[in-house]
Amino acid sequence: AQSVSQHNHHVILSEAASLELGCNYSYGGTVNLFWYVQYPGQHLQLLLKYFSGDPLVKGIKGFEAEFIKSKFSFNLRKPSVQWSDTAEYFCAVNAGGDSSYKLIFGSGTRLLVRP
């Protein structure tokens, strides 16, 4: 069965620091990959997505993610975080075949950015 792992459960950074959140998935076939963000008190929003093509995808608010197929990874990055990036971040995978309708999420990473 497909699964998604986010190894960093809590991350604390100072403003202007660089961010990288790890995401690994287990599925050998074609996948669609997503990063969602949940700001305090708000609903889940899509940050970025990868379907095919350029493995480096850019999303909203200066976030980007790189799909590395050989490593089954889709790490989220931002060169310089802001206090307003404080939120919980979720990686998600949609696999193909019989699982093509299922969107599986990781356990999330809580990011706290200190001013």
């Binding site: 889940l44 998600a92 969107l103 999420f105």
Partner: protein
């Protein structure tokens, strides 16, 4: 544009009582529909998904059930709630293999 409505926003129910959470989608047809439960530190757990009317797939054996009586309506139910059913429940919709869009969620507290 598409919108998703989920209600109620909060619910407090006694142990052993029934449950019905409703979710409706507007502005699209034949969406894939999902129920998730979100728990702190555990992310979003997929409970049920549906690719069409009357078609329900269950991911986790539990005290809950789901139904899809109409194309854009998805209902999460229980006949008798347990304390362990407390949590934050999210409904979502997607077009096949595309990103999911979430409702505001329901905070369920079983007392």
């Amino acid at each position: 544009s598409q919108t998703i409505h989920q209600w109620p926003a909060t619910l407090v129910q006694p142990v052993g009582s029934p449950l019905s959470l409703e979710c409706t989608v507007e502005g699209t047809s034949n969406p894939n529909l999902y129920w998730y439960r979100q728990a702190a530190g555990r992310g979003l757990q997929l409970l049920f998904y549906s690719v069409g009317i009357g078609q329900i797939s269950s991911e986790v054996p539990q005290n809950l059930s789901a139904s899809r009586p109409q194309d854009r309506q998805f209902i999460l139910s229980s006949k008798k709630l347990l304390l362990s059913d407390s949590g934050f429940y999210l409904c979502a919709w997607s077009a096949t293999r595309l990103e999911a869009f979430f409702g505001q969620g329901t905070r369920l507290t079983v007392v």
